[in-house]
């Protein structure tokens, strides 16, 4: 059994303000899970492959990223036997249906559109918090 506050939240986000938004929202909703950040897709992939992110973890992935884009990173994760089962949420400014469709084709657990600041993002935090409180993660294999 994994305690829910042991789930690491791995944020792949190049925008400092967006990352601050997540930190602020977590603080406001009293989510204490450890936050780990990568600022581009390539860095994220390297960290995952080097096991630099403690298991269990969920990934909060932006689609617009320098070097390796979010969808490219997602493809690499799904193609990597050691990472294929990672839980990934998309958190992006894009509400383009093409992006949504392609993301779900890569088996993401959810797709969130970053909207305006304010209470909206707090809702997303609630959903995430609820998710790892109720969902069972596989023991690391």
């Amino acid at each position: 059994m994994v305690f829910n506050d042991q789930v690491t939240v791995f944020v792949v986000e190049d925008d400092d303000v967006d990352f601050m938004t997540i930190k602020r929202s977590f603080a406001k909703t009293r989510i204490t899970n450890p936050l780990v950040r990568a600022t581009n897709g390539q860095q994220a992939l390297t960290m995952l492959q080097n096991k630099a992110v403690a298991y269990p973890f969920v990934i909060l992935l932006d689609l617009k990223l320098p070097k390796l884009s979010g969808l490219e990173l997602l493809s690499s994760i799904r193609a990597d036997a050691g990472l294929a089962d990672a839980v990934v949420f998309i958190l992006t400014t894009s509400s383009d249906e093409r992006d949504i469709i392609r993301s779900y084709q890569h088996n993401v657990a959810g797709y969130f559109v970053k909207e305006q600041a304010g209470s909206h993002f707090l809702d997303i935090c609630q959903v995430l918090n609820g998710y790892w409180q109720t969902v069972h993660f596989a023991a690391q294999g």
Binding site: D15, V17, K64
Partner: protein, 639 residues
Amino acid sequence: MRARRLLLIDDNPDDIMLVTRALRKQSGWQYEIDLAYTSEEGIRAAAAKRYDCILTDYNFPGISGMELYIRLASCCPATPIIVLTGQVDQAIAARLIKQGAQDYINKGAMSSEKLHQLICDAIAGKNNDVNSAAPGKEEYDVLVVDDNEDDVEFYIRGLSKLDPGYRFSHVNSGQAALKVIDMRPPDCVLLDYCLPGANGLDVLNRILMLRPHLPVIILTGQGSETIAVESIKRGAENYMVKAQFSPELLHRNIREAVSLKRLENALAAKEHELETKNRELNKTNAFLDMVLDIMPGYFFVKDENFKLLRANAQFIALYPDKSKDKIIGYTTVEDYTEEDARAFLENDCLAFKHGKHETNETILFPNGEQRTLFTQKKRFTDEDGQHFLMGIASDVTEREALISQLQKSNADLEEFAYIASHDLKSPLNGIRKLVSWIHDDYREQLPAEVQEYFSLINSRAERMARLLEDLLEYSRIGSRLTAPETIQLHDMVADEHQINDGHANFTVHVPQVEVVMPRIGLQIVLVNLLSNTIKHHDTGKGHIRLLLNQAPGGYQLEYKDDGPGIAAQYHHKVFNMFQTLRPRDEVEGSGMGLAVVKKVVEHYQGHICLNNCADGVHFSIFWPYSTTEGAARENGNGI
């Protein structure tokens, strides 16, 4: 085994061998051939014995071919004569046949079968001639020109006894004869050569000048070959020596002369008719050639072996000058790249197989130009059952290049709008977040003025976000539009009306009709028009009226509201992008609404205009009926 007796008159042993061998080969027939090596020998033989057919050479020393023929024909008029010629001289052949020769054959191109057939036809033809002139069947109006009453009496009495169809008139001078012939031409003239005070040949000349087609038989007291030949040369039909003929022979000669002339006349009439037809045909052909050369495109006809049979000037121009004479009658595949040739031959096969074929093909032509053609090929069959292919191709090189350029620039534009609005959105969101954090965390510490500034920053950022959102929406219209379907207009308007804030204060009148239109396109148009009315209404309460009429080729939609309307001087601006007529601080809007409406309508080849009217706005939209073809195009390559 059937037997035939032939007389062969020829001075060349090789030719004699050729003919005798050819006829010996004809199984089922026994040809008994008498040979004559000179013209004189031939004439003697023809007079002495009855033959089924005479074959004669044309060139003998001392006598012209025509003369020989005439002499042969006069000593055995019922025997068919076939002339053997060395080289095909159509003019000579035609003259001989006109004179009564049954046929001619070119020695160089003679085969056993052909010669045999010719002989059979000649014999059959001659029999027909004799039969058709059988007594009692026809009437003969004969003018006898003779000053010897006894002779006249002899002819009339003898001929009348043989055939009751004779009618005679009699004059005794050339002068009188010409008068009668001028007034009422007879079927035949019997002309005494020796008339008082006149030369027979002169009279003959004058008769034939008057009536070139009148058969004249010269009768003379003394047999003179020179006179005979001269008469025939001048156009007399025949020549007879008075003391040497019986009424029967005269009768036969008259009949032959008349029927020959009649046939000649019929032939001449036919020839004339043929000539007229030929001229018409030539005219039609010339016209067709002109049309084919004028038409903007390529035209060609191929046979089943892919050989070109016909092509217009444009097609010929696709070849370099040096190979222009190697087009008609050739497949010309070697003038193309292997790949191109294979492609169009495959298409030819498909067209032959299915009856027609059409394609867009890019071909490197022999003149070095690469062109894209829209080619249609159609199979047709001629009277003999031969299949052909007719091809018409129009040059679409420039059009295709434009289309692909346009497609690319459209895609580029869309991509640009997508990326731009997307990438601009992130920093904007950052700004808005930071402002909201300042508001959340430090509101109490900030002077009211600064708070006011921050709220202005926030509203500007929000406006920019909306502009970006609408821009993105605009760029994506093309990819979202769909094929037409059946829609209840009333229900759809009601649904779209609900979407806009403040709709409750506005009533919409829509007819209960069914339309076939693209759903999403119509939705976008309606929601934008409705929102436009609600947003800009001066009293915040009003009525909207929508009318739908059938116009030629499409629907005519009329949209009217009772708002403040739009001043005429701004009409040309309202459909522009980001165009608002009121400050955004009064009415929040990106100014994209009507631009979006226009883009959708024009995507479907329709048009929208804003009408002048006293109160409210009045938009007229023409929306073309969707054709299945149009629908297919939409589905096939939505922008």
